[in-house]
Symmetry: D2
Subunit: 342 residues, 4 copies
């Protein structure tokens, strides 16, 4: 069985495990105040070329989103997202559980568009409605697409114009930054927003996200929010060790680049076989559409998620991970070729 | 430097790391629905001899407490704890952040006493006050003490009488169950409460707690609460692998028993040297009291936490962990002997 | 200046004021446990022919919505509404502030349609998304429309099928029930839902809503929720006196019927003058559309709210209240006739 | 039956009812933006001699406390109160329902003492605990006592020193300010805190509190918080009319002064009869202690609340209201004289 179900399907990248093994006799202070965490933080600050940024290592994406959004908003504040945003759909009301409304506009290829944000803000003029206080996007998006530099600049400008924070959920940031369509560096992206997180869980770590806060007002007392919202990791140094390794020898980008490359190969070869897709491939998630009759055949050999279906066809999701090999991809192409020819 | 600061000071127990390494090429489904998690769940259900229990592997203690308490209570419901309870002191308002009041009575040696619970309930007779809905205790307590069977039975009976849930925070449950003063098995304890968690973070794992729910009403839909309150771990199988190993070959109890034994030795030998303690030693935490003048000497060789201090003396906390060795303990004894003699 | 801005523009109906004056020397117990409240409750229970119902007099609509929805839901539960629902738009995130997501579908003439509810529920299959637990509608709707019996039955059936509560915001229930298009009694409506409130604030009272709960499970301990969510009125007997009067001599229905009649006259006469409307008139709110150039003329003589506007035309809202007279309506018709002729 | 149960036992003071009657034909804009509200706001600003203050008319005490505290705090912020504070005891967890912990110290005669606040703050040094952000007191207190100027200055100074807001719950502020022991004006008190509310519900109004905010940072966007937390009153002008009248011809102070005078007479005369009290009389609440055997006799003629009891004696509460007469007081004295003599 070939696993294309998701990118959090294996323990962790061998290099990460090696780092943990090599440091498993050491003792550290807790709660992310250890030297490994400090070293990892410094690497990330170098990477984004911002010595004034702060970095916190948290335990998961939903939890990190809760922390940032709850920390950014007054009690009547709202977060703006597109309707397909992870916080709006797949976090079981985690944001609302902190007391805040998620207000949405329709996505365009999984993305939030600046002019829609501006209209939404204008439609919230007084105290009878929530007050928008932060804009949330995922990059890469839930549909595997990547924001362009110009789109990020537009969003950043709208946020500045209306004094909203701009926050980027980077659960799959590695794949976004190493995408062939990405026209900016992490440094450039970091300079356009107030906070973002670098996903570790979906990029080869056992768990963990690196929350980067560049806005000093937003940064104030944020450790309280991390603890209060259940995202404080007693063994923070484990995250420190892992992120320290992830940002050594370019590992973070290597893992993501390889995933993208394999997804691209899958996309190109399946396209040649006549397979249609819901979106163009930009990162490690692709959404091929098959006749309903073929799905059960695919399920015999490949593990994947069903995205949506109608009477005739079913859209599924293939995700490449740090465990996916070129051989896996070849097998999948071969399998689908055979299925389609029968 | 000898580390007696806490029991979450190292990556994880060698056996756990070995298990992770040996399974690091596998792929798994996410969110705790994998076979490793199921196997670990079954081991725990066997251990407590309750096939109807449910087990969920979560990411941390504060987060687990949020989940259970928020899930147990209606919006105006309150949790009863003693004043030294972790949820009341050291969780940065995490319970209140879910909308619920923590109502407290003074602790007796770190414990909540049944008759105080009953009086507190009687003092909340109508809708002008919160409605108590769940009782929270930590076992072992924050002071290293262990509930007796008779104390647990009394608490359980009060809860049944007034229809409250009874929940045990087992961050250091291993040390409680292997304490020389413990007069019950985990099966007996499990039968007295509605839910408890078995702490992994403080018992040799990289992270993770096993939330065990024996009350079926409380169990309903609890996975929603886990996700909503930020405690859902995408790579749940990592917890599965670790707990699976922890409950093989008695490892869980071995780790704890050894910690207790080392703490007891420290306690006994230091007592012989005339050192006084805040509480009797029952588990892996001891609280020796030193003249203020000796503290800086101790700090040169030992890493520990200061618990409290007055003009003359300072109470500190020594915690043994899975990394503590007999040699460490001997060194500490020797060091203190020397310091006291000078 | 003629006031057609809203139906909460005057102190209260003369009969209500008279009742308050006549009882202003009496003393009562607080918090709605007085005889006036009990008498008013009994009248409402007779009216809906349900001796097992419970009635609570609360201080406002938003507050009442918070109470019912927060009381109905577990922490991860969500309320379903149509996008134009008051809780989704004009309550400044009051529902989310209790921790719950409002999930929406597009309205059809201001209404929530049963089949959309069913689809929405089906689209929320597991613990990665919120769990729908209650359905919210406003009757009359925010657009002045009224649910038909058949629509209510369909919604009620979907709720029963999926075990959701069904709750009706009756801020303008009087106008709904006395609408020419209404094909059911309050008794029939009450039998189809689990809770609803009878609006007093918009139906001639100084303030106050009567929350009617017919579902016994939902009813349990709801006074705690009323207090916790800030809706407990110390001088509950004032509400008791007012609702007692409102449900004497048919006053509740008389006020509403007269408002509807005046709105209908306005609608019919303006239609004859060629005025178009956003919706058909069914209750006391109508939404005439005027050329932008006419708006400033209207504003000189009439107080009203602007609903929406585009380059050419502006939709405004006229609302009749217990203070509106036939003379007012004639003046408005005359005025618009003149304006349109110039 | 003589009513000494509470000070919210009657509809409203005759002058207030007169004002409402005289204006009952008028129409007003909603939500407190009307002229009556503006006029009342100006009177209060004149009274405290602070043209930069803002005044909002809200619907009740619990609701007002929720608004101010939730508005003042970040998600992990806590409010400091004494253990007998209304928010800690009798609001059914309303503050915690907004996500915030109430941290307490023991009261001294119903009061919060500045040095206890300072110690509490020092005991909350880092992100493992909540961060105190606002200090709450009631004046008059729940025990009928009144803060002295020096006590208020001390609290104000601690708040400034540690950058906490200082908020005063004035449910019975009228009685505090007209107490024989009060050594400051409302202007002086206002200058020492960041916000306070002037209670109307317990001072002769149908309902309503006037929230006065003098701190500009705290004031920002507070109308959103009022709506979000269910305290926005559609017919705000009713509050406007009532407060306008209350602050005409000294009515606010007259009502309170008379209540205090009657309570003082009761206290002095009962003391002469040998009755003991839980606290010295300072405002309109007194707490006489009777042998248990006398309580049933008292209950035949007087309506009151039982405060606490032990094997021998019962403490009850007498509260004078705007409806209490000198004749009522004489009757009570006479009655108790008789009872004690038998």
């Amino acid at each position: 069985m070939i696993n294309l179900r998701n990118d959090y399907c294996g323990v962790c990248h061998p290099k990460i495990l090696e780092a943990l093994c090599s440091k498993s006799k050491n003792t550290y202070v807790g709660y992310g105040l250890d030297n490994e965490s400090i070293e990892a933080e410094n690497k990330i600050k170098m990477l984004i070329n911002n010595p004034n940024a702060s970095v916190y290592f948290t335990v998961g994406g939903t939890s990190t989103n809760k922390i940032v959004i709850a920390h950014a908003l007054k009690s009547y504040g709202a977060v703006i997202a597109c309707d397909s945003g992870h916080i709006n759909v797949h976090e079981t009301g985690a944001i609302e559980a902190t007391g805040h409304k998620v207000i949405t506009v329709p996505n365009v290829n999984g993305k939030l568009i600046a002019k829609d944000v501006e209209e939404l803000i204008k439609g919230h003029p007084d105290f009878h409605m929530v007050k928008p206080g932060i804009v949330y996007i995922s990059n890469a998006t839930e549909y595997g697409t990547v924001y362009t530099k110009s789109e990020l600049i537009s969003l950043s400008n709208v946020c500045k114009k209306y004094k909203l924070y701009f926050y980027i959920d980077g659960a799959r940031l590695g794949c976004a930054l190493t995408s062939k369509v990405c026209d900016y560096t992490i440094e450039e992206m970091a300079s356009l927003c107030d906070a973002f997180y670098i996903g570790g869980t979906k990029n080869g770590l056992i768990l963990g996200e690196a929350l980067v806060v560049t806005n000093e007002t937003l940064n104030e007392d944020i450790r309280y929010a991390i603890k209060c919202h259940g995202g404080m990791y007693a063994k923070g140094f484990v995250n420190g060790i892992m992120f320290n390794e992830l940002f050594s020898n370019n590992l973070f980008f290597e893992i993501a680049k390889n995933e993208n490359k394999l997804a691209e190969k899958l996309y190109n070869e399946l396209s040649k076989l006549g397979v249609k897709f819901l979106f163009k491939q930009e990162t490690n998630q692709i959404f091929p559409i098959f006749d309903n009759s073929l799905i059960s055949e695919l399920e015999k050999e490949i593990s994947f998620e069903v995205w949506s279906s109608n009477e005739d066809s079913t859209t599924i999701r293939f995700v490449t991970s740090f465990l996916t090999t070129d051989e896996d991809v070849n097998k999948v192409i071969h399998l689908i070729k055979n299925i389609k020819q029968n």
